[in-house]
């Protein structure tokens, strides 16, 4: 990355303030009033709407292999997804994915 230290601190402080305001929002400003259903309905999907799109290019076109599909990383992603989906345990899913990645890298050389 090529950011100056000042820019990095601007990012950190903006994220700190923004995150605080998001977290404080209803608790701090709205009090007991109800939030409209349509807002809640969209907020419900923010994690599953942002994170998969962030991860997808890293899985299909990893920088470490020059942007080419890499069987080891693809397999690790699939194993992590399956273990996380069926097992519902984040830590076990991470460990399974890492084990798959290292095993595949070792096997494929």
């Amino acid at each position: 990355m090529s950011y100056s230290h000042t820019t990095i601190w601007i990012i950190i402080l903006a994220m700190a303030l923004g995150s605080f305001l998001i977290r404080f929002s209803f608790l701090g400003f709205i009090g007991d009033r109800e939030m409209p259903d349509w807002v809640l309905r969209h907020l419900r999907y923010t994690p599953v709407a942002v994170l998969p799109g962030l991860v997808a290019p890293l899985v299909f076109w990893p920088d470490a292999t020059g942007g080419h599909i890499d069987p080891a990383r693809l397999a690790a992603a699939l194993v992590t997804l399956s273990v996380g989906y069926f097992g519902k345990n984040v830590l076990v899913a991470i460990l399974s994915g890492a084990a798959t990645l290292y095993a595949m890298i070792y096997l494929l050389g």
Partner: protein, 248 residues
């Protein structure tokens, strides 16, 4: 305090704090490695120790911090970095809204503390507790909530530090570039509870890949917006279908 029976015990703030801390204890197994990883990946990406700690102490939101690192590694403009990181954190607005009926009457400094420490684990534990024990006083609820973050937050700071200090000594063979995707996939997978969640996730992937040509990660913001709408619409559609089926 007099001997007023079990009800009194459960609304005592000190007891509530200890119960919160005990309930949250297993989560240090999830938070610890995640914090360690942020320290390592942040240092590898080129942040110095103070900056890495600045993220973990001031922002205190793992997924959002990792998202910022990822977009920063693509040298995206500052505004895009901030928008992407905050988009990941938007779910906290939903947490804030659902805690409001239980903690909305607490003094503002307490509500500010609740906001600062709002992390997935504290929210989830507290929300369940408050619903199951409606007799808890507002101060007991606050004590329980702070109890849940008592083991988590110091662990988060400390292990970020350890990761940042150890980070630069980890060789490339460890394929740490893929630690971040694996962590995110592991966080998303259990959240794919309904057809609407799956539809939103699939939409996000497809649109992000199709829009990868857009500069500086702006494609991701497009993908996330479309995916949120798709999730909400599928939820509505499923609700209508369920009502139609149950109609006589």
């Amino acid at each position: 305090m007099g001997n007023l029976g079990p009800m009194e015990v459960s609304t005592n703030p000190k007891t509530a704090f200890l119960r919160g801390a005990r309930d949250a204890l297993p989560f240090i197994l999830v938070v610890g490695p995640f914090a360690l990883l942020f320290g390592v990946v942040g240092t590898e990406a080129g942040l110095n120790l103070t900056e890495v700690m600045g993220f973990s102490v001031l922002v205190i939101a793992g997924a959002s911090q990792f998202a910022a690192l990822q977009v920063m590694s693509e040298n995206a403009p500052t505004v895009i970095v901030i928008l992407t990181a905050l988009a990941v954190n938007l779910r906290m607005a939903m947490y804030s809204a659902s805690l409001t009926p239980f903690l909305g009457k607490a003094p503002v400094w307490k509500r500010a503390m609740v906001a600062y420490f709002m992390v997935d684990q504290a929210y989830t534990l507290s929300q369940i507790k408050f619903e199951m024990e409606p007799e808890l006083s507002v101060s007991a609820r606050f004590a329980y909530y702070i109890g849940t973050v008592a083991p988590i937050a110091p662990f988060w700071y400390a292990l970020t530090y350890v990761g940042a200090v150890a980070g630069t000594q980890i060789p490339a063979e460890f394929a740490l570039d893929f630690a971040l995707p694996i962590t995110f996939i592991a966080m998303i997978a259990p959240a794919l509870r309904t057809m609407a969640h799956v539809a939103a996730a699939v939409t996000s992937i497809v649109v992000a890949l199709l829009m990868a040509w857009m500069p500086y990660g702006t494609g991701l913001l497009v993908a996330a917006s479309v995916a949120m709408v798709v999730g909400a619409q599928v939820e509505l559609w499923q609700g209508r279908r369920a009502r139609k089926r149950s109609a006589p």
